[in-house]
């Protein structure tokens, strides 16, 4: 009888401590999410700071996981995000990515409206004479992305320009860890300044 009582107690205790562990990890996710939101916006809509801070809302989970690893592995040399990513466990990264995936705020916008039509043409059809593929071929006709290929719809205008302009200096920088970013390198390189501006204007206002 005593033994049974002990067994019951043990079960009760272990169940409580499991529940505690789950609750504390949930509160850790909530606190970490709030930390991401401090810079990336309450709904992950992005923020125009001194540096453009990208939209994470609706982003592909696999893309966010891969980029957070890229900061740690110095494929993307970024002192701020490398510090941020270093303390995140794989479980935490997946949990955070799932939270941002579910946000759906309207785009911050702010790109020049008169470039939107030209940007849409480049996005949907590419620039065949300059060997630039249609962006829609990989990023999808609505620019929602797929797995490691990012959603671009609603991304910040200055962020898109910065990434497309500096692709060869900001992405795929660790030869020991080659990644999929090499696919974008010739495309980003072939786009002219005015084409970059136009594509960015189109995407920055896309829901």
């Amino acid at each position: 009888m005593q033994l049974v009582g002990l067994a019951v107690l043990t079960i009760v205790f272990s169940a409580t401590s499991r529940a505690d562990a789950a609750a504390s990890s949930n509160s850790a996710v909530v606190a970490k999410l709030a930390y991401c939101q401090d810079c990336h916006g309450q709904s992950g809509q992005g923020y125009r700071g001194f540096f453009p801070i990208p939209r994470l809302a609706g982003q592909q989970i696999e893309y966010l996981e891969n980029q957070l690893r890229a900061f740690v592995e110095r494929r993307r040399p970024n002192p701020i995000m490398s510090n941020v990513a270093h303390v995140l466990s794989p479980d935490m990264i997946t949990a955070l990515a799932a939270k941002f995936r579910d946000f759906n705020p309207k785009p911050l916008g702010g790109g020049p409206k008169d470039l939107v039509a030209k940007g849409e043409r480049i996005f949907q059809d590419g620039v065949p004479e300059a060997n630039v593929a249609a962006c829609a071929a990989c990023h999808g006709p609505k620019a929602l992305g797929y797995e490691q290929i990012p959603r671009l719809a609603g991304q910040l205008y200055p962020y898109l320009i910065k990434e497309l302009t500096n692709w060869g200096k900001e992405r795929g920088q660790n030869p020991a860890h080659p990644d999929a970013s090499f696919i974008m390198a010739p495309i980003a390189h072939s786009l002219t300044k005015s084409q970059v501006d136009a594509v960015a204007a189109y995407l920055s206002d896309l829901k």
Binding site: A31, G49, F50, F51, I53, I80
Partner: protein, 200 residues
């Protein structure tokens, strides 16, 4: 001929009188600011330095004072009244004027805390979910647009503002400063305010 000359002279005098009156009005408005903010707008406790501040930031704060959304105790006491009768155009003109004055660093923080402050400013404290200030305020704390320049502001002003954000003042400004500041300990705040006070 003589008549024409006379007419030119009269018009010229009228123009001079009008522009002199406008300049006089402007200098009065500036003088109303510099009574407290210092003759060269470098700040005078408790009024912060305005020299070199981002014009869009100054303009927005003046509108916040007149709308009573910036509700910090000194704001209420001094700036609500000072900004009450400012038109948006006058606020913009004052903002542009003060933004063009070269700023001087207050250099009044604790030198021993500056290194700790630098680490928080430039890198944040990821384990404590404290973000790096540099992302929005810039590598030299120069600010951009409506985001203020912090470099070289006075220690007491920076410390007070960081404390007040965390206490819920000026909450109508919305994210992210209230959330960010509420996670900072008194030690973090003293370190950040010290580091920033020495920045050029």
């Amino acid at each position: 001929m003589k008549y024409t000359r006379l007419k030119i002279a009269v018009v010229a005098m009228a123009c001079f009188a009008v522009s002199a009156a406008a300049a006089h009005a402007e200098s009065l408005a500036i003088r109303n600011c510099t009574w407290c903010h210092g003759g060269s707008a470098q700040g005078y406790t408790p009024a912060p330095r305005l020299a070199g501040q981002r014009p869009q930031y100054i303009e927005k704060q003046l509108m916040n004072f007149s709308a009573h959304t910036r509700d910090n105790p000194f704001s209420k006491l001094y700036m609500w009244g000072a900004a009450a009768n400012l038109s948006p155009l006058a606020a913009r003109n004052l903002a542009v004027y003060f933004s063009t004055i070269p700023p001087k660093a207050a250099n009044d923080g604790d030198r021993e805390l500056a290194a700790a402050g630098r680490a928080i400013y430039q890198e944040g404290i990821p384990d404590a979910n404290i973000v790096a200030c540099v992302a929005c305020h810039g590598p030299n704390a120069q600010g951009v647009g409506e985001i203020p320049r912090l470099g070289g502001l006075a220690y007491t002003y920076l410390k007070r503002r960081l404390e007040q954000w965390g206490q819920g003042y000026h909450a109508a400004a919305g994210p992210p400063m209230p959330q960010i500041a509420s996670k900072l300990s008194p030690k973090h705040i003293a370190a950040l305010a010290s580091y920033l006070s020495f920045m050029k």
